[in-house]
């Protein structure tokens, strides 16, 4: 078939067309890794739990929040009744066990790490699953509200095995129909869905349009109904137009600069905490936000999102060019060089140029090195960089925003930062379910990172989804993912 086949606009008038900037990888919940995949899962694959607009975890396929034993070693999850997968298979405790076991054991599973606290999964009765844990784990519930909570149809799993991702079947408002590599994905309304009365669309199609302004133009011309994750500039343009609206979400995603602090890095910033401080002081987060992001982001100095109940307001290093200049002078290094690596992309490059200009004002010599994201990640993980401006999509539980990023040897610890104290603070926070204690522990870890500066947090992102004025009922959560379950197009 040619791209776009079967999706002729007039064929099913009530199909929603959404543009999204990146293409998902595999649609197999066990293997999926990208943010883009999380985005489309919401349309066809529900999880045991979900988050609400306050980042509170709420049941989705589960009937209620889990019952956790006193010692925190078992977790009983009661499931919603009368639910069926999109292929008609009944949704049962056995099905949940099949999925979780697959997540835990499958080679190349991307979930195994997230679920590592689980020692085994037991079926108590057809609607109750028990997770037996190796140790108490606070972040586990949040994982079940994320990709690890996606449940797959056992029938489809049996049929497709490792190729489940080519024709995935879950519980969801829409079911998978077709995918045109690099171009689009098609979903149609599911008749098996338990909440089907709320679904008013006949189907939904995701088109991949990398360039934000192109996506915006498509929205304006009516070729798409919603343009997900467009740039602030485009959002502002759209706001002025009559036929369109802009939804936004203050997300849990954040933007930061990782600084290579490996002992052997040999860069000016790696050698001197003072220079790192000067670098941070040179950055006017407010002005940066204004010029690049049209003041749409929320300047911040820590990883935990504003909505998180565990958040303690971090202490921010203020913008102080004079002090920064003094620090640079004191360091004894004449115009210390900084190479700022940024992933290619219009907005990030503009951001990098503003940072460059600001740091240059206090005496740094900044060069910007744009690089494609894959190469950038490769270099960052191998410690072959100086400073790396990039973003993190954010997690509901603070553990997902800290562990693995600022802990020793973490796969996203680009800085090469290694601090016993921080490591232990974060481990302790994960091992308790006491929110007040966790909050305190994270605050201490964030403060310590703030002082040593392997990572400079800049702000939490506000994301925008442009929609046609006819589109209603979209729910845009702080995880940055618009939900189209209840969306409808007004005539």
């Amino acid at each position: 078939s040619t791209p776009g086949s079967g999706s002729a606009p007039e064929a099913s008038p009530n199909t929603l067309v959404v543009s999204t900037p990146t293409e998902p990888d595999s649609l197999d919940p066990t293997l999926a890794n990208t943010f883009a995949a999380r985005l489309v899962f919401t349309s066809f694959c529900e999880k045991l739990y979900d988050v609400d607009s306050d980042l509170k975890i709420v049941p989705q396929l589960a009937a209620a929040l889990p019952r956790v034993s006193r010692d925190g070693r078992t977790m009983d999850i009661v499931l919603r009744r009368g639910v069926r997968f999109n292929d008609g298979t009944p949704f049962t405790a056995a099905a949940v066990k099949t999925t979780l076991d697959r997540d835990l054991t499958m080679k190349a599973s991307a979930r195994a790490g997230e679920l590592s606290a689980i020692s085994r999964v037991e079926v108590r009765d057809p609607t109750t699953v028990r997770l037996v844990l190796k140790h108490p784990s606070a972040p586990l519930l949040a994982q079940l509200a994320d990709r690890s909570g996606l449940i797959m149809s056992p029938t489809a799993l049996k049929r497709l095995g490792a190729d489940f991702g080519t024709a995935p079947v879950c519980v969801g408002p829409f079911k998978f129909r077709d995918r045109v590599s690099g171009n689009e994905m098609d979903f149609v309304k599911s008749t098996d869905y338990y909440d089907a009365d709320k679904v008013r669309l006949n189907g939904i199609r995701y088109e991949f349009i990398t360039n934000s302004s192109v996506a915006t133009a498509n929205l304006e011309s009516g070729d798409v109904d919603a343009a997900e994750h467009i740039d602030a500039n485009d959002a502002i343009t759209l706001r002025g137009e009559s036929g369109t609206r802009v939804l936004h979400s203050d997300t849990i995603a954040y933007q930061s600069i990782s600084i290579n602090v490996r002992p052997g890095a040999g860069t000016a910033l790696s050698r001197s905490a003072g220079l790192r401080k000067a670098f941070e002081m040179s950055i006017d987060r407010g002005a940066l936000n204004t010029s690049v992001w049209k003041s749409q982001n929320v300047p911040d100095c820590g990883p935990l999102p504003a909505q998180s109940p565990l958040r303690v307001r971090p202490h921010c290093t203020p913008y102080d060019p004079a002090a920064a200049r003094a620090l640079v002078r004191k360091s004894g290094v004449r115009s210390p060089a900084v190479q700022l690596m940024v992933p290619t992309g219009a907005a990030t490059q503009r951001e990098a140029q503003v940072i460059q200009s600001m740091a240059q004002d206090v005496g740094f010599k900044v060069s910007v090195r744009p690089i494609d994201l894959v190469s950038g990640l490769d270099l960052a993980r191998n410690g072959k960089f100086d400073a790396f401006l990039e973003g993190w999509s954010g997690r509901v539980d603070p553990d997902g925003d800290t562990n693995d990023i600022i802990t020793t040897g973490g796969s996203n610890n680009f800085s090469g930062y290694s601090d016993r104290t921080v490591d232990s603070l974060i481990a302790r926070a994960a091992a308790t379910n006491d929110d007040r204690q966790r909050s305190r522990l994270y605050a201490r870890a964030v403060r310590r990172v703030g002082e040593q500066r392997p990572l400079l947090y800049l702000y939490h992102n506000r994301w925008f989804t442009g929609t046609s004025a006819k589109l209603h009922g979209v729910v845009y959560q702080p995880d940055g993912i618009p939900r189209f379950k209840t969306a409808h197009l007004a005539r």
Binding site: D234, T237, A346, R350, V354, Q356, S357, V368, P370
Partner: protein
């Protein structure tokens, strides 16, 4: 020119040894004929204008990287004759800076391609044989890769930068240089004066360097006037795709990329760099057309 030169040559009647009283050097004649072509002169003026812009412009227009976060996307004004861009930088200064990048990319990539391609083409055409066959297959190979695909790959491998763009453009240009030089060499090689040099006992290198090469300077000049604008367009295209020069340095392609984001807010931002590219390449093309008419109409591509 063979016959014309022969017939228009000496006119004074004298002994058989007498040459024309005051022969005009060939380059002067060529220049004079070139200057008679209005379009070629217009092209030369454009080229010189942008050359001047690239050389002394930045001294006059001020910094192309200074941000002006208080006046983003401002329209043309006294302070900023062409307005400012999305980061409040002076567009005129950036156009000027871009001229440097563009001309550098066009000229250096062409020069590199010539430096590499000419000896290869000479050797291939002069010696023929298996080395020639191998070389021809390799040029086939490079020619059959769309150069942008090729450059996208190169830039991804080497990382985006002006240097790497120039390398990519040069590599993409080498095959056509090799082919042209080889073709010319094949023709010249069978010319009697080359045979005569061989008969005199000249070494191969001397034959190629002294006899063959000087006779294709016209072709190479014309080739350069075609390759330079192609290089400028190539740099712009690669920069437009984000594979070119690094910010905050300006290049016309980079400017167009960022302008693309503000098409509806500030279309002028997309107009200036585009016009600059078009005028520069137009200049070279006009000049090239003129030179081709004057020097030798053989090569056309």
């Amino acid at each position: 020119m063979n016959n014309a030169a022969l017939e228009n040559g000496p006119s004074a009647a004298a002994d058989p040894g007498a040459a024309a009283p005051e022969p005009v050097p060939q380059w002067r004649r060529t220049l004079r004929r070139l200057l008679r072509r209005r379009m070629a002169v217009a092209g030369a003026v454009l080229v010189l204008l942008f050359l001047l812009l690239a050389l002394v412009g930045p001294l006059v227009t001020g910094s192309q990287t200074r941000l002006g976060l208080t006046h983003l996307l401002a329209g043309p004004s006294g302070a900023h004759p062409l307005g400012t861009d999305d980061l409040g930088r002076d567009v005129l200064a950036r156009i000027t800076g871009g001229a440097r990048v563009s001309l550098l990319a066009g000229v250096v990539s062409t020069a590199l391609a010539l430096v590499v391609g000419v000896p290869l083409g000479l050797a291939a055409g002069y010696y023929r044989g298996w080395a020639d066959s191998v070389l021809m297959r390799l040029t086939d190979l490079v020619l059959s890769f769309p150069y942008l695909v090729f450059a996208v790959g190169m830039a991804a491998i080497l990382g985006p930068s002006l240097r790497n763009v120039i390398i990519a453009l040069a590599v993409a240009e080498v095959p056509s240089v090799v082919r042209i030089v080889r073709g010319e060499t094949l023709v010249l090689r069978s010319q009697d004066f080359v045979e005569a040099a061989v008969a005199d006992g000249a070494r191969d290198a001397a034959v190629m360097w002294r006899e063959i090469l000087p006779n294709m300077t016209n072709t190479l000049i014309v080739k350069a006037t075609v390759a330079i604008p192609a290089g400028i367009l190539g740099e712009a295209a690669l920069s437009f795709l984000g594979l070119g020069v690094q910010p905050p340095q300006a290049s016309w392609g980079v400017m167009l990329t960022s302008a693309q984001q503000f098409l509806s807010q500030d279309p002028l931002l997309a107009v200036f760099p585009g016009v600059a590219i078009a005028l520069t390449t137009l200049g070279f093309n006009l000049l090239g057309d003129g030179l081709r008419d004057v020097l030798d109409p053989r090569e056309l591509l």
